[in-house]
């Protein structure tokens, strides 16, 4: 019998090695797997490479993982924010390596890893600082930059509903990086607010098929909180 339901976050976290690459979902307030990040801090793996859209907000979640000194390198698109003080301090003191990637390249490089693509030519960033020194090619009169996949050893994903085969659905814009990160990692751990019987999820609208998921953990439903705002226009 297949049963991917883990009894606890600690159970799901076992085996994460020092030096692992951890893909962490979330964009803004939505889809941040806070409980799993706390579990990773507890689990103790260090020297991690973390992939996330941002580089931590405030003092919780990814910021807490950074503060605990567990991260060697971060790959993200938008580290600098009004409340990214933990990242800012570590980066400025040279304790944290940063690889800055345009957001769409980040998503597509992760997707490529999950899809078995060796590399791909992408127009984004051509002629800019972020493509400096990289292989380029002109195809059909358009310029492209060679981009490589980002593989995860572990993915931490916040989903909404799941079943024991690991099938997942998400809630609204909390989906963001979850589906591609789940594809790209050897060990994808997803939290859900509800676990349903096999067959209860509408097969026509399962977003992440269970084959991409290793562990599903049920957590309490807590309304997503405000925070990490940018100033209104």
């Amino acid at each position: 019998m297949i049963d991917k339901i883990a009894p606890s976050i600690a159970d799901a976290m076992t085996g994460i090695q020092d030096g692992a690459t951890v893909l962490i979902g979330g964009f803004g307030t939505a889809g941040i797997p806070l409980e799993l990040i706390d579990g990773l801090i507890e689990q103790g793996a260090r020297d991690l490479t973390v992939v996330n859209n941002n580089a931590g907000n405030g003092e919780t979640g990814l910021a807490a993982l950074l503060k605990a000194g567990r991260v060697r390198k971060i790959i993200c698109s938008f580290p600098r924010q009004v409340d990214s003080q933990i990242f800012d301090g570590l980066y400025r003191s040279g304790k944290l390596e940063l690889e800055l990637v345009p957001q769409g390249n980040l998503a597509e490089r992760i997707r490529a890893a999950g899809a078995g693509i060796g590399a791909f030519f992408c127009p984004t960033g051509y002629g800019t600082e972020l493509a400096k020194g990289r292989e380029t090619r002109e195809i059909g009169g358009k310029h492209y930059v060679l981009e490589y996949p980002i593989y995860g050893d572990v993915a931490l994903v916040k989903a909404e509903t799941g079943d024991r085969w690991g099938n997942l659905n998400y809630r609204m814009a909390a989906r963001n990086f979850g589906p591609v990160m789940a594809m790209a990692s050897k060990k994808t751990i997803a939290t859900v607010h509800e676990i349903v019987e096999l067959g209860a999820l509408d097969p026509e609208s399962i977003v992440t098929p269970g084959v991409f998921v290793k562990h599903v953990v049920k957590i309490d439903r807590v309304a997503t909180q405000a925070g990490g705002f940018k100033k209104a226009a």
Binding site: A30, S77, Y91, L106, A107, A173, R175
Partner: protein, 220 residues
């Protein structure tokens, strides 16, 4: 607000007037991404009777206005992380699909802010290249080159009175030759491979005065 020059007989477009000017050119049925900051104001001025679909880079098509106070749901936010709503017919999708929509040419228009735009449409809007600053790019580079038309919305002049439309960008580039039009507080200008072309100016500002402010020739 009038310009500080004593001879000025024209008024700048206010931020809302500028947003309305941009909105006026967004056609019925267009799929549009409004960048963070000033471009988000355009949503408040979309002409009645046109059905316009707003895309948000974090996986939303058919984004609606901000919810009433008390109805915020922080799983439903825009790229600027502010709570929004979803219109009937709207959809959610993951990040790779969202950016495929841009690169794949499925967005009609993208409206962005800018530090500088060159006469041929190079865009600089992600970094001022300041020594020691922490870089952050987000979706700027993907948006700039992705949409069928990239429009920039900005003040024409810096606070110091220097034109932000330039011969060549001195700030780090976001994309090459990607800006089609600049909507500014003083004029609307097209960027072409041959240089600038005038679309309109605010009342009282002549073509010659505008060329003097920008310091570049502008075709009529």
């Amino acid at each position: 607000m009038t310009m500080s020059t004593t001879t000025a007989t024209y008024q700048r477009r206010t931020k809302d007037q500028l947003a309305a000017r941009v909105a006026q050119d967004i056609f019925d049925g267009a799929v549009v991404n409004l960048g963070i900051g000033q471009p988000t104001l355009v949503a408040n001025h979309l002409p009645a009777g046109r059905e316009i679909v707003l895309q948000s880079e974090n996986g939303i098509l058919g984004m609606g206005p901000a919810p009433a106070a008390g109805n915020e749901d922080y799983d439903l936010i825009n790229a600027g992380k502010q709570p929004v709503t979803l219109l009937a017919g709207g959809s959610f999708f993951h990040h790779a699909d969202s950016f495929a929509m841009m690169r794949g040419g499925h967005l009609d228009i993208c409206v962005l802010g800018a530090f500088q735009v060159s006469a041929t449409g190079d865009l600089a809007n992600w970094s001022t290249g300041e020594e020691g600053a922490i870089p952050a790019v987000g979706g700027a580079m993907d948006l700039a080159i992705g949409a069928k038309q990239t429009w920039v919305m900005m003040d024409l002049l810096t606070k110091a009175g220097v034109s932000k439309i330039v011969k060549e960008c001195s700030y780090p580039l976001t994309g090459i030759g990607c800006v089609k039009r600049v909507y500014s507080d003083l004029a609307t200008i097209e960027c072409t491979p041959d240089g600038l072309r005038l679309i309109d100016t605010v009342d009282g500002l002549t073509h010659a005065e505008l060329e003097k402010l920008i310091g570049l020739p502008i075709a009529a």
